[in-house]
């Protein structure tokens, strides 16, 4: 047996790429839930963003306009969630479920009506996709032992959105723990009454949280359709929104932990694509179906609470009503 083979550079490379949509969605959920708004509609927002980014990129030929369209679609759904759960103090879970159904149905319906290709968008070519970027010195360093291949294969050669997502981790940490906005956001998720009596708008903060969530979900969805794949297909998020939620709980609502958690899920997805490597490493064949199921099994295990005690933001899921 050769366990090192399980960490083949090509597997790690696809781990990063597969972890990126999870990471973005996870950070999206982190902002929303830290602000006290539970969001199980990450999936739906990603899906809507994936479709609109691919559709607009296909029609305009510009992936950047596609990205903006994806973010716009995701933000629209965020606004729906915000109005339902903040303004009208509705049930956040029901609103989230509604968004998921809405996105699953509408994307296919509009795709069929616009492109008539069975609910998918045309394959994206040229400027319609985010192309890999080669970082400086990537070619020159390939000959350096160990570090060279690591840099040129693993770190270099991803699309811009991968680097954006990775920069979002320290960015989120900084915003959350070093800025006034972060302090207020965390406070509103823990005890909105404290924020309200301090003279700060609970509604404003929560809409900001839901808005940031929408933007990040939009980038995640756009990356799925225009970076990871070349176009939109039905249900292409494949539960990633829910996996991101599981990763969020696993990470205990902390940005750096979110990175590690989503990398773990990304790794499970990456290794499932390479049954040959697993066979080589373990010395026996593992059913492909089992490998495919691993991220979802881990999700169930995490959500069932087997991985330590995770304390969510205390006011999460509760609409804020001023008390007498």
């Amino acid at each position: 047996m050769n366990f090192l083979a399980l960490f083949d550079l090509s597997v790690l490379d696809s781990t990063v790429r597969l972890a990126v949509p999870l990471l973005l969605a996870c950070l999206a959920g982190l902002f929303s839930e830290r602000g006290g708004i539970f969001d199980i509609g990450l999936e739906g927002k990603m899906l809507a963003a994936a479709f609109f980014s691919a559709a607009i990129a296909a029609t305009t030929g510009s992936v950047w306009i596609g990205l903006l369209a994806g973010i716009g679609a995701s933000l629209t759904l965020s606004a729906v969630h915000g109005v339902a759960s903040i303004t009208f103090r509705g049930n956040q879970l029901i609103s989230g479920v509604a968004i998921n159904f809405l996105a699953a149905g509408l994307t296919v319906l509009i795709a069929q009506s616009w492109f008539r290709q069975g609910g998918r968008t045309p394959s994206l070519i040229g400027g319609g996709r985010f192309e890999p970027i080669t970082l400086p010195f990537a070619d020159a360093l390939t000959t350096v032992p160990f570090f060279g291949p690591l840099y040129s294969e693993l770190i270099s050669g991803h699309s811009i959105l991968v680097y954006v997502a990775l920069l979002c981790v320290p960015g989120t940490w900084y915003i959350l723990f070093r800025t006034r906005f972060g302090l207020r956001l965390r406070a509103v998720g823990e005890n909105p009454a404290a924020v309200d009596t301090a003279g700060v708008s609970v509604v404003g903060l929560r809409f900001a949280a839901v808005g940031i969530c929408g933007i990040l979900c939009g980038i995640a969805g756009a990356y799925l359709a225009t970076g990871l794949q070349a176009g939109f297909v039905k249900d292409m998020t494949a539960g990633r929104g829910f996996i991101a939620l599981a990763a969020l709980i696993f990470a205990k609502w902390r940005p750096w932990h979110a990175l590690w958690a989503t990398l773990l899920f990304g790794y499970l997805q990456a290794i499932a694509l390479r049954p040959d490597i697993i066979e080589g490493a373990l010395g026996f064949k593992v059913q492909v179906q089992l490998l495919d199921a691993m991220p979802y099994i881990l999700t169930v295990v995490i959500l069932a609470g087997f991985v330590g005690k995770a304390i969510p933001p205390r006011a999460g899921g509760e609409p804020y009503v001023k008390e007498r």
Binding site: F177, F181, L183, E190, A193, A194, T197, A198, R314
Partner: protein
């Protein structure tokens, strides 16, 4: 010239919630550098009035003048800008933030935290020196006691340059020593020229600390008087609208045989901390044993074990019969069958289901009573009729069995629980904090009911953090400290000072 302006003047404030007139044409003047008490029963409109002043509610009519200037207070931000700080009854703190973070929340300087925190740390040192308000700026709120948390609330207001401090029922959660400390701090703030409004329903606090006092009853301001020119009896009468007995009227106890016998009772909680460390107690028929102590010294655990919803070790007998402390018969229903009735400490969590109607709450714990059932079904008509009768006997207002428990005032909720438990004719009644959050008129009634049960020859175990209540209601007092009984006294032979020392773990 400016010194003659009142710090706060309210003119003709009215506020209605639907058909309920919470505040009716209220006018009040508070002079700077004084402590002004506002006293009234629960639901008299004190909190509504202060919420209007703090911008939580908008008054239907009336004007607010701060230091002689007419001021509009549409939200809390405006109240803070006008120099008003409020310490709510339930603190508005973020539990997992540090003291410092809570203090700057909403009053940060600029977008980044570092300079804000540094500035707050510095001014916290100054405030601590000026007002003797010492707190550890880096402690998390969940790690410090309620007395400290209250200081943080006061510091929050002072950090925002508040000149007027409103405190809503500030001593409800404090020990006597913490309350004394709070009043020293308030005295200090008054010396420095701050104006303080103290909302309370405790007459003694008003008499001890305020300069002037306003009395509210049913949304109206019934009187404003100088504290030195009034008496507790007069204030109580103004609050309730009739003469009130402030002492419990009872004859000496005639204790009979031992009903409850507790030997070496021990309880270990989930964190493996021993909360009861070998309790020995006896309660006789026809006597009230009061358990005094600062909250959190094992009284709650004692009630929980005796009430059948926590496990313990040791021997407990009722009329000579052993009570099951851990096994199959250690539950509320078995306890009731044994003849133990229980009025829990927290009536909103353990005594009632707040969203359920009064008649449903009346049946809880006794829902299997044949009088309440017909075959497999519950006999709702019978329960409702019984509830109606109980409500009339216990003077529950409004006497409507269909109303959800949450729609009754604290005193009336307690009467519903009491009516359910007392009328079952138990051999032993466990009562926890019978009058917490209950207004004066109802306190008198509840105390009378407990004494009447004693006079029927029942044993009563009373747990209360109110020393006054223990001294006036109980025949015998046992003081708990750190899970042990520090001493027992006959209530006519002891006083608050002696009990206070025992509560602090001194003496005995």
């Amino acid at each position: 010239m400016t010194a003659t302006h009142p710090a706060i003047e309210l003119k003709g404030i009215s506020k209605a919630f639907g058909p309920v007139q919470a505040n009716k044409d209220i006018s009040i003047r508070v002079m700077p550098g004084t402590i002004h008490g506002i006293i009234g029963e629960n639901g008299a409109g004190k909190s509504t009035l202060m919420s209007i002043l703090y911008g939580f509610y908008k008054a239907d009519a009336g004007e607010v003048f701060i230091a002689g200037q007419k001021t509009d207070i549409p939200d809390s931000q405006a109240a803070i800008a006008a120099g008003i700080g409020m310490v709510f009854q339930h603190f508005k703190l973020v539990e997992n933030f540090t003291v410092l973070e809570n203090i700057i929340l909403g009053a940060e300087d600029g977008g980044f935290l570092k300079p804000s925190l540094a500035k707050a740390r510095k001014s916290l040192v100054d405030l601590a020196a000026e007002y003797e308000l010492n707190v550890d700026p880096d402690a998390r709120i969940e790690e410090i006691g309620v007395g400290m948390q209250q200081r943080v609330e006061i510091l929050k207001a002072l950090y925002r340059q508040a000149d007027i401090l409103i405190l809503d029922e500030p001593t409800g959660v404090l020990t006597p020593a913490e309350a004394d400390q709070l009043f020293r701090i308030l005295g200090r703030l008054r010396e420095e020229g701050k104006t303080i409004i103290l909302i309370t329903h405790k007459l003694r606090e008003i008499m001890d600390t305020t300069d002037t006092v306003s009395v509210m009853r049913r949304g109206e301001m019934t009187a404003t008087v100088k504290t030195s020119e009034t008496s507790p009896e007069q204030l109580a009468e103004l609050m309730v609208g009739r003469k009130v007995l402030l002492r419990v009227d009872k004859t000496p106890a005639a204790p009979g045989p031992v009903v409850l016998d507790i030997q070496n009772l021990r309880v270990v909680d989930e964190q493996k901390v021993e909360r009861l460390r070998g309790i020995d107690l006896q309660v006789r028929a026809g006597e009230i044993l009061g358990i005094a102590g600062v909250a959190g010294n094992g009284q709650s655990e004692l009630l929980e074990v005796l009430g059948g919803y926590a496990d313990g070790t040791g021997t407990v007998t009722l009329n000579g019969q052993p009570i099951d402390l851990t096994g199959k018969y250690s539950d509320g229903r078995s306890r009731r069958t044994n003849g133990i009735a229980h009025v829990p400490e927290d009536r909103q969590r353990e005594g009632l289901i707040m969203d359920f109607a009064a008649w449903e709450n009346t049946a809880f714990g006794y829902h299997h009573d044949p009088a309440y059932t017909s075959g497999l079904l519950s006999n709702n008509a019978a329960i409702k009729a019984e509830t109606q009768a109980k409500m009339n006997r216990f003077d529950v207002r409004p006497p409507n069995p269909q109303l959800a428990a949450k729609n009754f005032s604290g005193g009336n909720q307690q009467k519903i629980v009491l009516a359910r438990e007392i009328e079952r004719n138990p051999d032993l009644l466990l009562v926890g904090q019978p009058t917490r959050g209950v207004d004066i008129g109802a306190i008198e009634f509840i105390h009378q009911q407990i004494v009447a049960l004693r006079d029927q020859g029942k044993a009563i175990l009373l747990v209360s953090v109110e020393l006054e209540e223990i001294l006036s209601l109980a025949d015998r007092v046992a003081v708990m400290f750190d899970g042990q009984i520090m001493g027992e006294r006959l209530s006519q032979d002891t006083d608050e000072k002696e009990l206070g020392l025992l509560m602090a773990g001194v003496g005995a």
